[in-house]
């Protein structure tokens, strides 16, 4: 136990633990006394970061929107598209107004500060740190890249309460949840002072103390297993419970109205996920390429695992199963993608495919909630699976990268058990935090404007009722 504490302290102090972080150019100045040159962003890195940002948008609109939209009945497809589209737009503005500041400026271990409210001080010259000493990207690029993460996460939740929620309820809940769950979790997991702060043990300790809570715990979350997927998955579960089951469930058919649309959505999610995962590396280098490879291989493995299991147990491998498996693999590799080797990625994919299949068939049936499009079963369960397996396959002896010690400027000795505990901290904190915030949010909306449309409206379909349109004529 003492040993563990020591380990965690070490993690807390010095290691290359989490995804991106920000270093404001002005803060940078003193650090530059140590180096001789003013850092300048590499245009190749910037090009890749902008490309990645574009990809995460593609992944959300239209990717996620189509993935979800194809799975609902045709009378509700527009409502899902609108919920995703409008949530994206709304959160984008909030990100510029206060989101970025709260997530990525220094404050407490749980919330950031207000230095960047309305993007003040964020200029075309500001730089943000990467994971390599002396390597910076334009802070504005980091801002837009992270904006897309902030936007897609609430959109993921939409799947849980699809086909029965009021449109206004969606918007109000999203603002609440984004502010009180997404922003703090992002800060806890990803905020740190950047590698150049770790000049020696003391400076490293000082820098470490300014990082987010879970970063200090040593949790590894390369591209958002906890911040994005567990976070959204739990909110989905809470939402499904608060909303209650859809009318007719178990009696009528709820088959996806357009499976090719689901397939397009899946593919765009996969393609866009290269921006999500590989962009999180912030640099266009060999490790970026490995993250890319991992994102292909884990996904392919998970899709195959789900399909073959379905073939074995159900008789036929379905397109929806293959698509679901792919998403499960993508979710599970997200926290791990920069820490594990390609063979580790394949194993993570295989496991995630089977675990999520179990979650959406057995677990869901056992618990009896109606999570319309399996947000919890895929993002929640897949995210937890990935977060925990990260600790396993990060191990250099299993082909992982290990964890880098920025004080020693070398890979640190690896303890799987210590890392596993750090991962449990991340999972547990996210589950509890998002759970509590989500309950508060749904309760609030229910008590004020109401959550659900009337039964007749639900039968008629949300497209007509909430948006006055029909998808197809």
């Amino acid at each position: 136990m003492t040993q563990l504490k020591t380990l965690l302290t070490r993690f807390r102090n010095a290691l290359r633990l989490a995804s991106p972080a920000l270093l404001v150019a002005s803060l940078l100045a003193p650090g530059l006394a140590f180096g001789a040159e003013t850092p300048v962003a590499d245009k190749g890195d910037t090009a890749w970061l902008l490309t990645s940002t574009m990809l995460v948008i593609l992944m959300t609109i239209p990717g996620l929107a189509l993935f979800y939209g194809g799975m609902v009945r045709s009378k509700n497809v527009l409502s899902v598209l609108m919920q995703v589209f409008m949530t994206f737009c709304l959160i984008a503005l909030l990100w510029a107004v206060y989101g970025y500041s709260i997530a990525f400026t220094s404050g407490s271990a749980f919330f950031g500060g207000f230095d960047r409210l309305f993007m003040s001080g964020l200029t075309v010259e500001s730089l943000a740190a990467t994971f390599s000493k002396g390597v910076y990207v334009p802070e504005m690029a980091y801002f837009v890249f992270q904006l897309t993460f902030a936007c897609i996460t609430p959109c993921l939740i939409v799947g849980a309460f699809a086909e029965r929620i009021k449109f206004s309820a969606v918007l109000v809940f999203m603002v609440f949840w984004f502010t009180f769950s997404y922003l703090p979790i992002a800060h806890m997991v990803w905020f740190w002072a950047g590698p150049d702060a770790y000049t020696d043990a003391e400076a490293g300790a000082a820098a470490g103390a300014t990082a987010g809570f879970l970063f200090q715990k040593g949790a590894l979350d390369f591209a958002g297993g906890a911040v994005v997927h567990i976070n959204a998955g739990i909110a989905g579960l809470v939402g499904a419970c608060f909303l209650g089951k859809r009318v007719g469930i178990g009696r009528s058919s709820f088959q996806p109205h357009n499976l090719p649309m689901v397939m397009i959505g899946t593919c765009l999610l996969w393609v866009g996920w290269f921006g999500f995962n590989v962009g999180s590396n912030l640099e266009a280098n060999g490790l970026a390429a490995q993250v890319f490879a991992n994102t292909i291989l884990a996904t392919a493995a998970a899709a195959l695992a789900w399909s073959f299991a379905e073939w074995a147990f159900r008789g036929t491998p379905t397109m929806l199963g293959a698509a679901s498996g792919a998403i499960a693999g993508l979710v599970a590799i997200t926290p791990a993608c920069g820490w594990v080797g390609p063979m580790g990625a394949i194993v993570i994919g295989l496991i995630a495919g089977l675990v999520c299949l179990w979650a959406v068939t057995k677990l869901k049936a056992m618990l009896g909630y109606d999570d319309s499009l399996d947000v919890f079963g895929v993002h929640g369960v897949g995210g937890i699976t990935g977060a925990l397996l990260t600790a396993v396959f990060c191990d250099p002896s299993l082909g992982g990268t290990g964890v880098y010690d920025y004080v020693a400027n070398a890979v640190a000795p690896y303890s799987m058990s210590a890392q596993f505990i750090a991962q449990l901290w991340a999972v547990g904190t996210t589950v509890v935090w998002s759970g509590v915030v989500s309950m508060a949010g749904f309760a609030l909306v229910k008590a004020t404007i109401g959550l659900r449309v009337s039964e007749d409206q639900e039968r008629e379909g949300l497209d007509t009722v909430s948006h006055g349109e029909s998808a197809y004529t």
Partner: protein, 112 residues
């Protein structure tokens, strides 16, 4: 004149069309429908949700024929559409008071 309405399995359409054409039927109208008869909806497990699939896709044929060939045509349809499994379908026959052929304005048996 009679109107024969047959509800059959979609993949039997080609065969039935061929069979009735051979009997001299001059026209067919086809509609995609859903339905169930004694072949009831089955329960399906799909990505975790159990769904009752009540209505199965069927094809509805409507044929206006003169009285003299009604029986043969009904028989031909029944024989061709039969697979022996549930869901093979139904044939309904109703009386047609009048038929008009729009292009020529012909009516009655001529028009069928």
């Amino acid at each position: 004149m009679k109107l024969i309405t047959a509800i059959i399995k979609p993949f039997k359409l080609d065969d039935v069309r061929q069979a009735v054409t051979e009997m001299g039927v001059q026209g067919i109208t086809v509609t995609e429908v859903k339905g169930y008869g004694r072949q009831r909806g089955h329960t399906e497990l799909y990505r975790g949700a159990e769904y009752v699939v009540d209505f199965l896709p069927k094809t509805k044929l409507e044929l206006a024929v003169t009285d003299d060939i009604v029986e043969q045509v009904v028989e031909a349809i029944a024989n061709t559409a039969r697979t022996g499994k549930i869901g093979d379908g139904k044939i309904f026959v109703t009386q047609l008071d009048e038929v008009v052929r729009i292009r020529t304005g012909e009516t009655g048996g001529e028009a069928v």
